[in-house]
Assembly symmetry: C2
Homo-oligomer: 673 residues x 2
Amino acid sequence: MDKKRYSKPLSLRSVQVTDDFWKKEMELVRKEVIPYQWNALNDQVEGAAPSFCMRNFKIAGKQNQERKAQGESYQEASYTFRGFEALPENPEHLEDKFYGFVFQDSDFYKWIEAVGYSLTQHPDPELEKTADEAIDIVCAAQQEDGYLDTYYILNGKDKIFSNLKDHHEMYCLGHLVEGAVAYYEATGKDKLLNAAKRYADYVKERFGKEEGKSKGYPGHEIAEMALVRLYETTGEEKYLNLAKFFVDQRGTKPYYFDKEQPEEAAKDPDGIRYEYYQAHMPVRQQEEAVGHAVRAVYLYSGMADVARLTGDEELYHACEKLWKNMTEKKMYLTGGIGGTHIGESFSFNYDLPNDTAYAETCASIGLIFMARRMLEIKPDSRYADAMELALYNTVLSGMSLDGKSFFYVNPLEVNPEACHKDERKFHVKPVRQKWFGCACCPPNLARLLSSVSSYAYTETEDTLFVHLYMGSKIQKRIGEQEAEIIITSGFPANGHVEIQVKGNDQPFTLALRIPQWGRQYKLEGAEDGAIQVKDGYLYVKKVWKEGETLKLEFPMEVQVLQADNRVRENIGKVAVVRGPVVYCLEEADNGKNLHLLTMDCSKPCTEVREEIAKEPIIAILAQGSREKLTQTDGSLYMPVKQAEKEPAELHFIPYYVWANRGENEMTVWVRRD
Amino acid sequence: MDKKRYSKPLSLRSVQVTDDFWKKEMELVRKEVIPYQWNALNDQVEGAAPSFCMRNFKIAGKQNQERKAQGESYQEASYTFRGFEALPENPEHLEDKFYGFVFQDSDFYKWIEAVGYSLTQHPDPELEKTADEAIDIVCAAQQEDGYLDTYYILNGKDKIFSNLKDHHEMYCLGHLVEGAVAYYEATGKDKLLNAAKRYADYVKERFGKEEGKSKGYPGHEIAEMALVRLYETTGEEKYLNLAKFFVDQRGTKPYYFDKEQPEEAAKDPDGIRYEYYQAHMPVRQQEEAVGHAVRAVYLYSGMADVARLTGDEELYHACEKLWKNMTEKKMYLTGGIGGTHIGESFSFNYDLPNDTAYAETCASIGLIFMARRMLEIKPDSRYADAMELALYNTVLSGMSLDGKSFFYVNPLEVNPEACHKDERKFHVKPVRQKWFGCACCPPNLARLLSSVSSYAYTETEDTLFVHLYMGSKIQKRIGEQEAEIIITSGFPANGHVEIQVKGNDQPFTLALRIPQWGRQYKLEGAEDGAIQVKDGYLYVKKVWKEGETLKLEFPMEVQVLQADNRVRENIGKVAVVRGPVVYCLEEADNGKNLHLLTMDCSKPCTEVREEIAKEPIIAILAQGSREKLTQTDGSLYMPVKQAEKEPAELHFIPYYVWANRGENEMTVWVRRD
């Protein structure tokens, strides 16, 4: 680790994404997701279960005001804390109480984060006004002492922090901070930021290594990375210290969570059940990615942040090991992670079932968080390769082309009949859903997509790192000058990239990622530069002439891939990719019973321009065979004979556009001839 | 249906099994399972959770006596009926109350049934004395009114029959009847039979189509077929009527079970949740085998019984349809049924996953029950083929070669790592277990194996049907004469069968099943007989000369099979069978990573005599390849290339001996080259 060489993400205010492909996604977020989500937060989506999110804040604010008016202190409440407060039988008769999940507040925080990012790319006074008013509502709910979590405010503040393991107070803190920082950075308005600081201060006073303070840590991680961000925004080291405390404390013995539920402790002294929370052993000792996948990558992101800022080599190496384990033994071809729906978790090494995959959209988003943080510490294209894979495949697959429906789970193989009839696959949906009761993926998608350029670029004083290629206009300070860097990119349709630097006469380095799939790239221009390739990045250092353009051509060719044969599910199978895009077969193009198809890998594939739900795509046609359906006299089993096959053209489409034509079979992996 | 042509099973007292293969199984039951189970029933197995079965009967008996002595009537008790009463924290402090599962009584009934069968083959005065004393204990618990279920006797008789859906009172009645009849047939002692009749009478008075009687039916079926058996044993038609009532009533609307839990009814007016109980629609309308597989085949057995005795064509056709669906779309190659552990149920058509199979031992036993009943109505070798498959494979696989441990679940593919680490496969055990808390499979195995000849043979006045080939000495009345029929069989080692008829000079027919795998059989002898083949049976009618021997040679050759390609799990795979025996690959013979092996079906297989845990078997060697483990730089995915393979000899062993050499990988289906 070399602190001097760390890079940091570009501020979103310094980047305008001009890329057609990504702008479309960002516009969907702005025009569809953000307004829909605002309605959802306010229980105004017909047919959807109410969220109660804003309602909870309002009631907490009202009670706050009443208490203040009457000079009362907070009343203790008697309440059974169960983590979820369902709608009453008669929805007309809502009481002045908390409804929804224990983490319901976070829905607003994710929304305001996405709003913040979106405003940097597309100023929108009306949206900003709505956001400001919403912030007023949220801040009114904050307690005088700084505490802010409506579940406990409305149900009994005497019980706060009594169930860190499952009750998400720290998770809500984390999302509050993320949202507040994003909104502050976008608008300069600090009301929510101050509320976040006050709540963080409240927590800091109660948790820490100092005697008398609680030794607890979050059940669902995110506060770690959020507090680092708060430190980086405010410069106040106490927030970094709190993040570091949470990271250091996690998984140490005696287990903090045992104190909360002592009756469980004796049955499982090794804390196996805490693997779900990545709290089974100190984080520095963890070498295998286990448990709830989203939590895991949120934790690892926080670990990487803390390692970077404290120069903690041991912690950094733990991150490297976990990354390696995750991407070399537990990641789907699509950049999905989480092999099992049980606990929404990682399965064991090389266990990557395609049809019962979890591969949650949020988990791939978290993988992207971690990758960016690892890149900040040490640019290595392996991180960006996985980031790209997750982004173009699992993340984009998470949202329909019209931005109106979402996947939580991103399987690599779907037989709709099984999804409907086989309880083992009930978690796999053959079509995207409008919204979820537990609405984590859509807002997570919104905040990622509207800030996608902060994953594309990081910088040091004299270097711009390009991790992902997308059309952008970038302002970058170089010495005393403000340079403008204009990037155009054909991704994912083609691998053509052009970069132009303007308004600068200082030596300056472009560090351009060479994708793992694009090692046979061609570079044109910058012939007079100092050119070096290291860890998958092409470093071009030179004084750029005004308007000088560098051209890069990455060969975006069809590749047929196989998996390490330790992955039992994929034995004898191949998959088709093109550049960063993973392809799949859909029933809509290939008929039913996709398992009867085989691909002849010796024959060339052809590319065809098509549209799917008006989205232009490049389809891939491959040669193969289709086994005829068994003709049977009723016997399920019969003497072996040569399979009766007929030639078939396999029609592949990008995985990210699947399930936009109604319910049908899909598979990424296809048997090879 | 032709009543005159119905056959009926031979009494066990008319058959002595002399077959080495089956005698060994029966001796294991007699020497290992029955004594072990008796200890288990009496909570005397160290290390195993106590059963409380006999203890519950004793306490109920004691309270009975006390009440009688004090002239008290039954006291109502207040108790929360939860279906299971766990051991107290301190096992020293047992109270005088019910412990265990709601169906705990049935454990004794299954035991006494196995004891009865065993005594017919191997008289054992000491065992009979133990059994008689146990019967005294059980009968002492019976209430004066005839009711007999210790769960309700000890917890509150006022609540009896209030939860037919889940509380197994009728199930216990069914097993009581089965056990009582078996013991009566073996010993002529009718004490338990009378208790069974009294309980059946009690139920008959309360359930039936007559006005004022309850319209309920059993949640877990078995009473249907048991009551038919009681009718056939006693000649009392009321028992047949009760069985018919239960069959007729099942699944009619309004659903009886809705009355028990009305709050659920509105949510699911179509009774989808009652598929588990096969109570979602009237049984005559059912065409697809659904729900809990054991319950299903128990019901279908009862349906076949009622159809046979009442000449109910519609009911019989329902049985035929359900059988067809089950065996043509939902049966594993091993005769296992139940594609999913969720609800221990059938999955949808053609969904037969190998590694998450349920294929419960008891379900295959139930399949055998049904098959025999269908054969009684109409001899057709399809029924006996499936019976044979289930018996030689799933049923035998259910017990270890030493008779000391058992499989509940019989998967067709096992990776032990997955069983330990992947919760989706926790139900799949890579090694057999000593005993189960819910001890249904071991005693079910005991009762089946010790009565196996009643599945091998049925008879009409002048015909002996041989459905399964096993060495036996059979007494059969033909006209005025008592003939002796001596059968020797090489199954499953070879297909040689000899049948000799003695002491008879009347014309008489041997109806010999031609197995689906043995259609190229050779017949020797009986040249002067009238020979006819019909529905897979070879009918040889003649007057048998004293000592005349008929020889049959079924070609027990290695066959390589494939599955209907609608079974997605088996696409591109083959399996090896030899006669009735399905084979598998084990890690012990073939090394780890069985998925890397492929079989070359064009090369011949060879047979080798071997021993596994001292059991002589015929192993099969096949030619194939082993793909080398991927050499990787850490990438999980890589450009496709020709698989690196080395020649490999595939060493197959009978499925029924798998997992007798410690924990290891196993697979029935192997990829074809």
